[in-house]
């Protein structure tokens, strides 16, 4: 009887550990920029461990290095020093073409300025990431429609970004980020250009995504938005402070 109980406990822990598998790890990461004669330490020695399904917020004043850290985690830039592991792969040692694959498959970006392609409709914008993954046309359209309808933009499918409000554009951006069903969502100041109501809506959306099992990393200077996250990292002058 005891043996069985032990076994059950063991399996439960195993299960829990599986659910809490690590997905992103930064080890002693530094990022320096040289501007003229000055050496700017954007990220100055950071160690972070993020597990699957975590909803993490990184807050800090402007110039604290949040965006830089975002770029590093998102494989958009290389660290000057240190290692960054994404799903147990060290992305600091990969070629650009591999990084592009990772960005396309595993990461969904959401930018402060939405960064939608102005000449493509909402539907076409959401379909775009799937083109690079060679998803056939019919599947692309179906998935894009699903995502947009789910987020409440079913009536905006064929509208251009300039025909939509800020809140709608951001929702298109969120849909685009989800197009390839990535494990990680990286959002850089996603509510920066929205009013507080819309901002809260977006934050709530991230909560829901997190419950669905996605890892969310949110960079923001707005503490009201950050509060929606499970864990908050405070960043100042390139370092994590408590």
């Amino acid at each position: 009887m005891i043996k069985n109980k032990e076994k059950i406990i063991q399996e439960k822990t195993k299960k829990e550990m599986k659910e809490k598998e690590e997905i992103i790890r930064l080890t002693k990461v530094y990022k320096y920029f040289t501007v003229g004669d000055e050496k700017i330490k954007a990220v100055d020695g950071v160690d972070v461990l993020i597990r699957k399904g975590d909803f993490v917020a990184i807050v800090g004043p402007s110039g604290s290095g949040k965006s830089t850290m975002m770029n590093l985690v998102g494989a958009l830039d290389f660290a000057t020093q240190g290692d960054i592991f994404l799903d147990n792969i060290n992305i600091e040692h990969l070629h650009e073409s591999d990084l592009a694959q990772i960005r396309g498959r595993k990461i969904g970006f959401i930018f402060q300025n939405f960064n939608l392609i102005p000449t493509l409709t909402a539907l076409e914008n959401v379909m775009l990431p799937m083109i690079f993954q060679r998803i056939p046309y019919e599947k692309r359209v179906k998935k894009a429609k699903e995502l947009l309808i789910k987020i409440g933009l079913g009536h905006r499918l064929n509208h251009l970004p300039k025909q939509m409000s800020g809140g709608e554009r951001q929702r298109v951006a969120v849909s685009r980020a989800l197009a390839n069903n990535p494990e990680v969502i990286l959002a850089d100041e996603p509510t920066g250009n929205l009013d507080s109501k819309r901002g809260q809506e977006i934050a709530k959306m991230f909560e829901d995504l997190s419950k669905e099992g996605k890892t969310i990393i949110l960079v923001t200077h707005d503490i009201d938005i950050a509060k929606h996250a499970d864990k908050i990292y405070k960043l100042r002058d390139g370092q994590i402070v408590d």
């Binding site: 958009l76 830039d77 650009e96 930018f111 102005p118 690079f132």
Partner: protein, 404 residues
């Protein structure tokens, strides 16, 4: 995925319509020029080759050297004479030979004055001459023995633009001060020279022009079983000896119709080459225009390129995307250029027919020209876009996204 890129590329060209059009302007001017000039050149060549076909490959032409325009004066030692004609007739392999006296002369009809190409031949040779040249009398009759002051006129004298009112059979035309009665009209040959000719007997032409003994041109028919180029060599050798001339210092030229055609083709080749060279230069300029537009486009879309890389586009994807865009600029420009070029060529053809009276200038509608022009413009477009596309593909995502 390639198809998707073409769609994206086309979409991008549409977003800056004016700029796309202006860029393509450079291409379609160059292409229109190439297409129309080559088409006309080809057409002209084909028509003239047809004329040679009519003449046949079994003919040899013997002329005095330095025979400038037909009918121009030549010094006495350099001309061919009756005895040369008779000598040639007796060479083995020559089926027959006809000697023509060709002179331009003053012609007068009613009160109008003009120029006529006088062609004098023996009336006995008339039928043979017509058969050989491939055209026939359509009104009246040909020259006969005893036709002293009679003339057979070329088509344009009767139905063309030489005279205000066309000359018909039975009317009188004055040549070098002598009245001639028109007894026949020839069918059109498509050759303005033949269509403007005035056929009279050699004897009378020599008389009115004070020419004693001259053969401006001797046309030889090669007998069956003899090779034209071999016979030409034989005639050259023998005639040279007959006239007491040294090798390579002959005062006459002998050409088979094949050689004549080759000469023509060589000239054509050179002219076409020059035309294509000029057009190629203009296309180069068009290509530079595309390069410029693409560079501007890359800079304007820096942030967009960063975004695309963030959502999974590889460097190679970006490269391909921009190459396709510049290729499309070339291709669409080429399409328009081909259309305009064909229009221009056809227009020139009509103008030549109506105003110059010659159906010689034809536009060749060879699909090879059009396809070649399209392919070429696509290639120019793509090549011009290589450098800007490379630049775009190499943009670092983080830097690109930061760009304002």
């Amino acid at each position: 995925m390639l198809r998707d890129f073409f769609v994206l590329g086309l979409n991008n060209l549409k977003r800056r319509k004016l700029r796309s059009w202006l860029t393509m302007l450079g291409i379609f001017i160059g292409i229109a020029a190439v297409v129309s000039l080559i088409s006309l050149g080809q057409g002209l060549q084909e028509t003239i080759e047809e004329q040679f076909e009519m003449l046949g490959s079994d003919k040899i032409v013997v002329q005095p050297k330095g025979m400038g325009a037909p009918g121009s004066a030549v010094s006495d030692q350099l001309i061919l004479k009756q005895k040369d004609l008779e000598f040639i007739e007796n060479i083995r392999g020559v089926e027959w030979a006809i000697g023509y006296l060709v002179k331009t002369g003053q012609a007068k009809f009613k009160d109008e004055a003009g120029i006529g190409f006088g062609i004098g031949l023996n009336p006995e040779d008339w039928d043979l001459s017509l058969t050989m040249q491939g055209f026939d009398v359509i009104e009246g009759r040909g020259l006969k023995k005893g036709d002293k002051f009679k003339v057979v006129v070329g088509y344009n004298h009767a139905f063309g633009d030489i005279w205000k009112r066309g000359i018909r059979v039975g009317e009188t035309i004055e040549i070098e001060g002598q009245d001639f009665k028109v007894i026949g009209v020839l069918e059109t040959t498509g050759n303005p020279y033949d269509d403007g000719s005035l056929y009279v007997t050699k004897e009378v032409l020599a008389e009115i022009l004070n020419v004693e003994d001259e053969e401006s041109q001797i046309l030889v028919k090669v007998a069956k079983g003899f090779e034209p180029s071999d016979l030409a060599e034989t005639i050259k050798r023998k005639l040279r000896k007959f006239r007491g001339e040294k090798e390579d210092q002959e005062t006459f030229t002998i050409q088979t119709s094949e050689q004549l055609l080759n000469t023509f083709q060589n000239i054509f080749g050179v002219v076409q080459g020059v035309l294509v060279g000029i057009a190629a230069i203009s296309l180069l300029v068009g290509g530079i225009g595309i390069m410029n537009t693409m560079y501007t486009s890359v800079i304007e879309r820096t942030k967009e390129i960063g975004t695309m890389k963030a959502i999974g586009a590889k460097n190679s994807h970006i490269l391909l995307l921009f190459l396709i865009e510049s290729g499309l600029l070339g291709l669409v420009g080429g399409l328009i250029g081909v259309g305009i070029g064909i229009g221009l060529a056809k227009g020139a053809e009509s103008i030549a027919k109506i105003y110059l009276g010659t159906p010689l200038l034809q536009a060749s509608m060879n699909p090879l020209i059009m396809f070649g022009a399209l392919a070429f413009s696509f290639i120019i477009g793509t090549l011009s876009g290589i450098l800007p596309a490379l630049q775009a593909s190499k943009l670092k995502p983080a830097d690109a996204l930061r760009y304002e």
